[in-house]
Amino acid sequence: MISRELYNAYLHKGNLSSTFTFFALALFCASLTLGPNEIFLRQSAPGLIWILAILTIFFSTPLLLKREAQCGLLDEILLHPSLTSTYLLSKVMAEYLFIGLPLAVMSFLLSPLFALSSGETLSLLLTLLIGFPALSALGILGSLLTLNTQGGGLLLSLIILPLTLPLLIFGLSVMEMTQLGLDSFPSFCLLMGSSLFLLILSVTAGSWALPFAAER
């Protein structure tokens, strides 16, 4: 199932390039609009990058999953003897490798636009790498819950976006601690804990939602 999902994500490479372009362009435009004040840029960069990462995942995942469902690929998954949670974990892993990792690397590469120091850039990269599995899992859960609805994007924002708050709060807390030169380890632990909790929650809820999503 893991190799299938990795291959499946690889086949979506054409759609993923537009996702990455959106993320890079949005970051570039944001850095231009914030002006040349370095202190202001450094302070606003973590929140901006995190919110853009969340939006990018929540825009791209439902589109990919909807196309797969329309083509009957979810039926194949349900008829497969593997547990649905195995499928969802494989999908999270594939999304992490094909979307999360490139987005984190892009944030790292574009961090000079926000005048971030090397320590801050490293902290930002780590927080994104820790947060992305939960973000992907939440994106997949939201997609499954809104698959058969009209205007699913709005519902997705209402249902799933609030669940990303712990990641946002603890991720930004790590960045704040780093910028103030304080010990950021406790915030890292909280970020890891909330990421793990949200991953488990999303996969469990997704396993329940998958058969209903495929009932058309």
């Binding site: 291959y7 083509c71 009957g72 008829l79 495929a214």
Partner: protein, 191 residues
């Protein structure tokens, strides 16, 4: 081997019962919107059937084990929208753990092997149907559940399909077929 007892999905059908033995084909016949696809999806377990309504080899089904016995082909063809035909072969290989060679042989039989470098979404409807139905040759499952399998097939495609049905029946298979076309030679139930 397959017993369906008092299955209902209101308002489409209620208390429907039938059984299907080895070497037997059953045609679910009905007009558009009569509930044929819904019934087949329920029997395949893609819509949760009411408990105690479907029996396989005399026992109440456990979905995960029962589904390993069936091949389901519905309206959606199960082809990846972004895949070249050869990518689709790889995807099936990873998903079903079937040798690529067996899949490629089936593609030859269905006449779609020369299209390996084309995107599945760029194939004609008939070619996509042929590609999807090639599973009949490489996925060895006793129970076939086929929803409107003739749609978009030309006469040559229909001939290959009919040969596949005959071969499966010879090999002790069971076939559940939904169609709005009458087939006088096949036992049928009407919805």
């Amino acid at each position: 081997m397959l017993d369906v007892r008092n299955i209902s999905f209101l308002p489409l059908f209620s208390n429907l019962s039938f059984s299907l033995a080895q070497r037997e084909i059953l045609l679910i016949h009905g007009t558009n919107g009569a509930g044929k696809s819904t019934l087949l999806r329920m029997i395949a377990g893609l819509i949760q059937p009411p408990p105690g309504t479907i029996f396989w080899k005399g026992k109440r089904i456990q979905l995960s084990t029962y589904q390993q016995n069936l091949l389901y082909s519905g309206h959606s063809l199960g082809l990846h929208p972004e895949a070249l035909l050869k990518d689709q072969v790889n995807l099936w290989h990873y998903h079903y753990r079937v040798e690529k060679k067996a899949i490629e042989e089936a593609l030859h039989i269905w006449g779609v092997a020369p299209l390996v470098n084309q995107k599945t979404q760029h194939l004609s409807q008939g070619q996509q149907k042929r590609l999807s139905l090639s599973r009949l040759h490489w996925l060895a499952r006793p129970l076939w559940i086929l929803d409107e399998p003739h749609t978009n097939l030309d006469s040559e495609g229909r001939k290959i399909f009919e040969d596949s049905l005959a071969h499966h029946i010879e090999n002790e298979g069971l076939i559940l077929l939904a169609s709005h076309e009458k087939r006088p030679e096949i036992r049928e139930i009407c919805l």
